[in-house]
Amino acid sequence: MIIEFIVKELKALLKDSGFVLLAFGGPLFYSFFYPLPYAREVARQIPVAVVDQDNSALSRQLVRMMRAEEEISPIAYSSLSEAKKALDRREVFAVVSLDEDLERDVLKQVPKSVHIYTDGSYPIYYKQATTALQKAIKTVSAGVEIKKLQSLGAGKAAPLLRSPITMTAVNLYNPQGSYGNYVVPAVFVALVHQIMLIALGLRAGTLYEQKKEYPKRLKPFKIWLGKMLSLLLFMAGYFVYLFIIMYRLYGFSGGDRILEWFLFYMIFAVAAIGLGLTIAGLFKDRETPIMFIVVTSLPMLFMSGVIWPVWEMPLAIRLLRLCIPMTYGINGVVRLFVMNVSLGDILPYLSGCAILAVLFGFTSYFTIKKRYPLEM
């Protein structure tokens, strides 16, 4: 009986062109479209103006060091005013000025500054350019310092006298600082969550407009169970496509804990379907769900805490985010799948998601019961 209903439900869903477009076209399209801007992962070869007024061996060494940094691409300018104009026009994102007496002053033991002018209005370019420039300048400076220390008799200990502390920093989970790795797995979860919400609202709205009714022998619990199981099949399909095929295709880090993530994902899926069915009960035409749900995607994604940390959010937002399955799904994928931490370490997220699954399971059942015998 229940299998018969599932088959019927699946057939009905596949006959609904709006649902099919959203449920199949959505993940297919967005799985390519969303990661596209981040395809190069980090900003490289940022144009930087270099005004070498010294033209000495030291200044040329500095320029060579800058050229060796992959983040920046130095371009020679003859004057500072010309370089600053280029900065204003955003043709370059930083200006380095090497003063006329640079080498002479260094040799004369006069500390010398290399002036860099950076564009703070583009934070990502600023960060990359300033890091690369400081690295290049400090490397050249270190060479000079070590030579000077050796001339004072420091011998082989010179590097250690110069840098008494050695810090070894290891970037975990996303070592290259890839933006794709940072954003896309979270967006995949947001995508399936929003598709479920919109598709269920759209379907319920369409059926309400058509005023179709279930046969009397079908009771609300069986309808709820059949709907839940048939939609879980879709969610399982998304899992295979997004988290097995596309995830590997893009080469994101982690991805080893597939079974544990699948278990977490299915609990998340029950919560998302439950929420979708509950909200669907509010819609009486097929277009309104698209209007009202699509615009919630961005705030829900930000609320998850992946882009902006949770401790910086106000209490009301911190409480609100706890009621959204996407929050748990995104934190689940990031921690369990991308960062490869164990299921035990994300127990608060898992239990939170399970509570929502039960809660929205109940609310969705009552929504179906309320609209019964009308189809939804």
């Binding site: 008494p164 989970y173 790795n181 209007m291 910086e312």
Partner: protein
Amino acid sequence: MKNIWHRLIRREWAFIFKRKKSCGFFMLVYPFVIMAIVLAIFSGKVLDKIPVGVVDNSSGYYSRELVRTLKSNRFLAPRPFATVEAARKALDQGRIYGVVAIDESYDKDLLKNSGAGIKAWINNEYLLVGGNLTKGLNAVVGALQAKYQRRNLAALGVPSSMEDSFAAPLQVSENILYNPGMNYIYFLGLGLLPAVLQLFICISVSYSLLWDIKTYHARRLRGIFNERPYTACAARVSFYVAGYFAVFAVMLGGVIAFFQVPIEGSLLRVVCGGAAFVFMTASTGLFFAGGTNNLRLCLSVCAVYAAPAFAYYGVSFPVQSMPILARLWAEFLPGTHLNRIFVNELLRGVNGAGTWYDILFMTAVGGVCFALGAKGYARWIKRDKYLGPQL
């Protein structure tokens, strides 16, 4: 002609305030709700006090000095842990975002000048947090490094007046232009405004236009559309352009006041940019309506067009660093141009010519979309077979 404008604008007014009140809510209330939530999320403004675990295996004078310096850094909120394992576990559980382990021989090595070791593990999956954490750690280590280096130079007999030339013969003098406080929230807060509005404008315009077709109400407009299709479309779209321009102005004022965004350039150009943005987005809505003649399909197209647009604006990742296809697509999104105008006029106060280019580009693309959309939309209205069921 005047009558057409008057009649159609009154009709749109009645549509959102009487016939379809949910549309009025969607246009005049919902954008503010969404924007308020987004602003509240980022109300912390500065990302500091990042929880970081500290394992002091040395427990000596110098390691305690290091812990004190870590505590004094604005980006860091150190928490003591007994072992590296316990700290790494907390890192995995997301309770902290980095671990600093001070070597057992740290104090001894520092006194012997044999390289005192610190190990740091940073959760770089959260890029903003990881970036600020690294910045904080580097600042702390750099300050202590300089202090001990001067001590070593004194021990080698370098007079204090010469220390600078030995410790840092080449110094970096950095001048951060345009956003000297490096307030990331200016950039993000301003970038979110077009992301939110683009979706609302596009959906509202297409909804209003195609609702008439779906419900057969468009038949009553057939006379006007037969006579003056472009004027009729202009009148209907202008209602939403004016309404959303007001929404834009209030929102922008809110963002500027809330995040205390400076206004370095011309506010007039920002206002013109906002008008061009609203016009281009509304025209895109008309273009989709004229191209699809199916309300549900059109709303889906609007969602496909506008929902992922934020990723292409250059806020989360620079446009110049995107692949060519993504760059081309970004240029056809009004938010990319408005974001540039915000950066140029509010943060930088330079490159007015660039701003005018963006304004003209949006106006021109908006004009083309309007012409094509109006032609398509008028075609649907003219024939009964394209209209929905008569109610």
